[in-house]
Symmetry: C2
Subunit: 335 residues, 2 copies
């Protein structure tokens, strides 16, 4: 491998870890040949799983530690567990320039606290934001902030626009980022002062990275007319979780519908392939991987409850972010 991309992997966080982590690495490794995995965690548990895979020895290194942060630890308690947890060591390897990005399926709050303790903010960015992928009719949205900041000022929202657009461009290089502000009316009259002021700044501001498309409402998030959606962390978190809840509600109602009669079961069987395609398109594992933006190294959070397929997707996000030079894109376009 010539100068491989190095991903730091916290192997110990989330449900069914490190099994799904190692299996996810195996899956991701099948589709790429220029990634090296720095794996942090308990060697005694990780080794037997790795031995059951086809992963070659030159593709990874294990950094042994028995100490780990539990999913139920408070963010601060997690961070206080010290510098020899798998999560801390993984993040520290970015600081030491031994890895290019970190991914963890562990404790979200602790990941962010430890990342902020160890890594620098990008110059001129005041607050980090949590972003994620969200499907739309034509492809994928980046939505941010999803909960890192309950209250945001104009500068924060302008920064989020830039960082979200840079992330979209890194992940989907053939598409042009189109930024919109989430609001409760399409007229310029609605919304609070922070949103209205941000609208004016983005409207007047020239930039070559993205096009500003104005306001959208919640029902337009998935229309596909824009692909970077900017909001404060409280609103973004409520919107994302409401969408999840609605999707779960509808698919479970649908399941009941098909199970409620013999005819329903037969026709669902006949239609199995189509339903599988439908399910695949909405599979949350496809969108797995939230990205903390604003630090000078990429920090990726995999969903704790995902499986190896979902975790492999987080690794894919990592790889694309590094190859797409996300951090450089942000630095180059900042005001």
């Amino acid at each position: 491998m010539n100068n491989p991309i190095k991903i730091a992997v916290d192997a110990m966080g989330g449900e069914n870890s490190p099994y799904k982590i190692v299996k996810g690495i195996e899956l991701h490794n099948l589709e790429t040949d220029n990634v090296f995995y720095n794996i942090f965690g308990d060697k005694n548990i990780i080794d037997p799983i790795i031995n059951s895979t086809n992963l070659k020895k030159e593709k990874f290194q294990i950094f042994h530690t028995k100490n780990l942060i539990k999913d139920e630890d408070s963010p601060l308690a997690g961070a206080k567990k010290g510098k020899d947890t798998s999560m801390w060591l993984a993040i520290e390897s970015l600081k030491k320039l031994e890895s290019d990005a970190i991914v963890s399926a562990g404790n979200t709050g602790a990941l962010f606290v430890i990342a902020k303790l160890n890594l620098n903010m990008i110059e001129k960015i005041d607050k980090p934001a949590l972003s994620a992928l969200w499907p739309n009719r034509n492809g994928m949205n980046i939505v941010l902030d999803l909960g890192a900041n309950i209250e945001c000022n104009e500068k924060n929202l302008v920064d989020f626009s830039l960082m979200g657009a840079a992330l979209h461009k890194s992940l989907f290089e053939k598409e042009d980022p189109k930024v919109a502000l989430l609001n409760i009316g399409s007229e310029e009259l609605k919304g609070n002062n922070v949103i209205k002021n941000t609208y004016q700044i983005l409207h007047d501001k020239k930039n070559s990275l993205y096009e500003f498309k104005g306001y959208i409402e919640g029902n337009q998030i998935m229309d596909g007319n824009v692909n970077v959606i900017v909001t404060d962390g409280f609103t973004g978190n409520v919107a994302l979780k409401t969408a999840e809840g609605t999707a779960n509600f509808i698919t479970s109602e649908l399941k009941q519908t098909f199970n409620s009669s013999v005819l329903g079961k037969i026709s669902a069987f006949l239609n199995l392939n189509n339903l599988k395609k439908f399910k695949k398109k909405l599979d949350p594992r496809l969108y797995n991987g939230a990205i903390l933006l604003g630090l000078d190294k990429p920090v990726i959070k995999s969903h704790g409850s995902t499986d190896e397929i979902g975790f492999a997707n987080s690794l894919r996000v990592c790889e694309k972010i590094i190859k797409g030079r996300l951090i450089e894109k942000i630095k180059k376009n900042i005001i």
Copy 2:
């Protein structure tokens, strides 16, 4: 009719009005025998439609006016059109005690401005809130505020809890209202100060109308563990519209799935009844009717794009609110 309930109906607002309004009245009238309709609008257009229905003359009265507020008028421009628009006259009939509640499918903003100009706030309620029905696994939620107030303080959210619970009890008298605050974490630590203070007030406050169940997150709205969901107008509006957008996205993806192959079409046909049941359960017309709470008379807003079935449901909501003595319930339980 002995002391019939009198509903003031603005016949001229929304798509396909007054046709759908009159047809909606006909539908509603089939299921009730103690409601009288005060219909406001252009008699020359309304009369021929009424003549095509089975509505008896003793069931309604038409208050003729040619003037109307257009859907595209700004709220203020609508209100300024004067006191002889169908909407203004309909609301005024509440003030004159000639009607018990008003329903309109017209301009939402104008409806609220004119209602606030003509009607009194309930004593000790500072701000009105917009509420609506939202399905959950076990029945129906009331969610408020959905956009009347972008920013809310503790007193507002406490008032919304009471008004939402009173509305739920009026509509579903056999169920006990269970109130929750929409937040971004279930731990008491998250959320902004207004939400945390409101939590404490609701937690400490004794009341006989509802049970306070603490925080919920967006993905729990449809779980059915609570049935009155309280939030500020900005968050509520984003949540509601995001849920609508998600539901539309999924059902259109599903439609594509079934149309994408001959086999799919056959099995969808076989399964027609089940799919119809599914569609019916999610039919937005069932939840049609947003209720403005806080004024001393019930003001109901039908969706502008609904049809006669949806409008009939708004009339049903009106009738239940009056029979359920909503306003009395609010007054009796206020701190």
